[in-house]
């Protein structure tokens, strides 16, 4: 294998699994250390800069960081990264003085369509730079799906108000209550660039017999949730069937339990394990006495005297062809009828762009999605950019934020006359953590604690109101303990071959058998010949050559605890623990080449 190039940001960024997996690349270990130190405001600001909505995301994020967390590979459960974010948000002090200083207006005008997380991120990034950002939304309050879709018992409205407020304080012109009905009309105005962040605002319906007749009691999930959020709906029938297996279905069933639903069931076509909903959301639903029935395909809504009486399901079983593709085949068992008073249909969302004229210069694909570059977020009309669910279909908040940052960089470069394809590299700082002979500026002692559970409101109280928050969040002590589980993966083991005397001290002390000194060979062979076989191919092997014996140092990054014992036991300082802080470049002078 070739020696690893550790000079650029890429290699070590990948070692920080959580940050690498995060669409916005939030420097997770950095803020977790701040939480452990009780510096909640600093932890919050690291988040705020990167993901814009720490309080919201600390309750609702889809947490791509957690399955990636190294702790999950060395023991059962990853660090509760998402809930630690909330600890920062809950305990921070006043951040007003830490918000960006506003530059004088630069004469450029940007329109953002929709006031959801993507648009607000664009506004957050560009407004302080002097851009006049106009944010349009049909609703009276900003927040988009954050406000309309996520039930209050998961996300209190004060949190939304606070974090949306930090952005509106930066001076964007909030044109709320103004729905954009025509892109052409918007293009005709004097905007220098337009960002479309209008979400995926249409819930998919289910067209089976009886749909029309039972219409009064059949609701499209996302619309129903929005109506609940706005207070238009306050009640639901006692027996409720929720169709669909995504997170919207989970929100629907749990909301129904709080609006009078006593016998609420979730019914999914596929298997329980294949459901799109996050595992923890399924757990929360089941905890609230909501059974999830699987392998049932809705066939018909039954009705009597013009009123819905239930749903008929066909029983199916999964069948795999020789290519491993799954199909659902009827088992031949008799159909199952589930009686109910209301049905909530949460079987997916579609994008709809009725307001974009097809001759506005935006190309659409055969599924009605705009042609958008995943790198630049630019559409086929160079001054129109997309982000969030509007760009590539329904994802989640953290992706919308990442899109917003990317689009803001593109807009800044586009309006500076630069090539939007030329993306700015992240800022990287590498600092040795050595303080003394065996002292490091991070806590390298590994906590053996298992993942802590977030305290929850008592079920009887939680189910009484749709606005009683279920999760109470970690208190500072629990937050500290959970924070101590972080392995500090951003504190890298950096090796210098010229000073190594090959004494094997690091090999002997490494608790995870990560380090091997051996003869060089191909990666495929080498992976099997290390002190512990390196079978996780998604994790790199760090190779250094130039040793006196002609061997190489090979370190499997997979389960390294970053405990620094290799560096403590090294007599010559060939190993050092260096913190690599990777800071994604956002819009601003740093993202431009001139």
């Amino acid at each position: 294998m070739k020696a690893t190039d550790i000079s650029g940001p890429d290699y070590f960024h990948k070692v920080v699994d959580c940050q690498y997996a995060c669409p916005a690349h939030t420097p997770v270990p950095e803020y977790i250390r701040q939480i452990a130190a009780g510096r909640y405001t600093d932890a919050y600001m690291i988040n705020w800069k990167s993901n814009v909505f720490p309080g919201v995301l600390g309750r609702t994020c889809d947490r791509p960081c957690e399955p990636a967390c190294r702790r999950g590979r060395v023991e059962d459960e990853p660090v509760a990264i998402c809930r630690l974010k909330r600890v920062a948000a809950d305990n921070k002090g006043d951040i007003a003085a830490l918000l960006p200083k506003l530059a004088p207006r630069n004469g450029r005008k940007i329109a953002c369509v929709g006031a959801g997380p993507a648009s607000l991120t664009v506004a957050r990034d560009l407004a302080p730079l002097g851009y006049e950002v106009h944010v349009y939304d049909g609703e009276a309050k900003a927040g988009g799906f954050i406000r309309t879709q996520i039930p209050r018992f998961r996300l209190p409205e004060e949190v939304i108000d606070e974090e949306v407020g930090y952005i509106t304080a930066l001076g964007p012109v909030m044109r709320l209550g103004e729905r954009v009905e025509s892109l052409k009309a918007l293009l005709a105005k004097d905007y220098d660039a337009i960002f479309v962040g209008c979400g995926a605002p249409r819930g998919r319906d289910l067209d089976v017999p009886g749909r029309k007749e039972g219409a009064a009691n059949i609701h499209v999930g996302i619309d129903w949730l929005a109506s609940v959020s706005f207070g238009h709906i306050e009640k639901v029938g006692k027996r409720v069937v929720v169709l669909g297996g995504g997170n919207t279905a989970m929100d629907c069933c749990r909301t129904a339990r709080r609006l009078g639903g006593q016998d609420v069931k979730v019914v999914v076509r596929s298997g329980f394990d294949e459901m799109k909903a996050s595992p923890w959301e399924k757990e929360d639903a089941m905890h609230e006495d909501i059974p999830i029935l699987n392998f049932l395909v809705p066939k018909e809504f039954t009705h009597k005297n013009g009123k819905l009486t239930g749903v008929v399901f066909e029983k199916v079983a999964p069948k795999y062809d020789d290519k491993g593709r799954r199909s659902l085949v009827p088992t031949g068992e008799p159909d199952q009828h589930i009686a109910c008073d209301d049905v909530l249909v949460a079987v997916g969302q579609e994008n709809s762009f009725p307001w974009i004229e097809r001759d506005a210069g935006i190309e659409f694909d055969k599924w009605g999605m705009p042609a958008v570059s995943a790198k630049t977020m630019q559409s086929s009309n160079p001054k129109v950019f997309f982000g969030g669910d509007a760009a590539f279909g329904p994802k989640n908040i953290i992706w919308a934020v990442a899109h917003g940052h990317d689009a803001a960089v593109s807009i800044e470069k586009f309006l500076s006359g630069e090539d939007v394809e030329d993306r700015p590299p992240p800022g990287v700082s590498v600092v040795s953590q050595k303080m003394g002979i065996h002292e490091w500026s991070y806590d390298n002692d590994i906590a053996n604690d298992q993942r802590y559970k977030v305290p929850q409101q008592e079920k009887a109280i939680a189910l009484k109101s749709v606005s009683t928050e279920v999760e109470l969040g970690f208190d500072p002590l629990l937050g500290f303990k959970e924070a101590q589980r972080c392995l500090n993966c951003d504190v890298q083991t950096v090796f210098s071959a010229p000073v190594c005397i090959e004494c094997d001290a690091c090999v002997d002390i490494c608790p995870m058998d990560c380090i091997t000194f051996t003869d060089n060979e191909d990666e495929a062979d080498l992976r099997h010949h290390l002190k512990a076989p390196a079978l996780n191919l998604t994790q790199d092997i760090y190779i250094a050559d130039g040793l006196k014996t002609g061997r190489i140092m090979a370190k499997d990054e997979d389960v390294c605890l970053h405990c620094g014992l290799c560096a403590e036991r090294c007599p010559t300082g060939a190993w050092d623990m260096q913190k690599t802080l990777i800071d994604i470049t956002h819009a601003g002078s740093a993202c431009r080449s001139k």
């Binding site: 390298n444 004494c503 002997d508 608790p511 006196k548 403590e568 007599p571």
Partner: protein, 351 residues
Amino acid sequence: MTYILKPKMHHPELPANARGFTRRDYEGRVSTLCAGCGHDSISAAIVQAAFELDIEPHRLAKMSGIGCSSKTPDYFLGQSHGFNSVHGRMPSVLTGANLANRDLIYLGVSGDGDSASIGLGQFAHSIRRGVNMCYIVENNGVYGLTKGQFSATSDKGSKSKKGVENTESGIDLVALALQLGATYVGRSFSGDKAQLVPLIKGALSHHGPAVLDVVSPCVAFNNHAGSTKSFDYVREHNDAVNRLDVILGRAPITADYAPGTVTEVIQHDGSTLRLRKLEESYDATNRIGAMNYLQERHAAGEIVTGLLFVDPDATDLHDRLGTMERPLNTLGTKDLTPGAAALAKINEGLR
């Protein structure tokens, strides 16, 4: 030393041996020796060897004297028996323990000061008596605890860290052991675990006095140019005569070696020592040949390593004294006071 303990977490794929223990279960407390000390590598090799031999920790007793090397039994086999004796007296304590309980595996750990200076007599007599033991000398050629004076194994002409030349002759513990009748003699290097681990395994399973002289660089006081026990010097002058594999009786021969290059020695306990020759003329079962070869190579400035001598038909102190086969702690009142009839019989024999 380090300020934190070695984390309990281990590699998710860490294998277990026939006793259900992982290698980590054979570790001891965290080392307090200088970072990079060769002794720590030897400790790691002992851990590995005990793991591979499926040793039940409570069936092993580790004995030591005084010195950096003699501290190390604290850092491995934390669940085994141990005795940290006075300076140079480990061999006597080990001999006594062995006589009292012949069922345990005895691992003596010592250093060049403990064995070649103050304890040289004890070293010599335990070997010539044929005590069944694995005697490891962690040999760094320097008094590290007292900051770097030459030890009795420092080679004549080697230089101290300050540049002073050693004018006295060094004791070659391997040559001594051969002359005194050790039945398993090896030399190795702390920086070569591939060689060291099998040598320790062979020594632990050997029936008779097994002596391993392990060159172990002192990173603090004896790892400089001019030292003959530095990492660089040993790597440059290492003349390995063979490579050893220890097979626990159940593994079949898989590698295909050219005839004459592999010899197999079946030990008393059924284990097989498979020796692959690196030096064609070297015969590890010829004591006199070994002594001659060692002297020649030593004169040429080379350090001969490998399994230098093994006697497959070795006997030990118990065999020679005809002691009873059971450990003394299993003898009950009935065994120890056989009664008047037995006494009369003994008295009769003495008339």
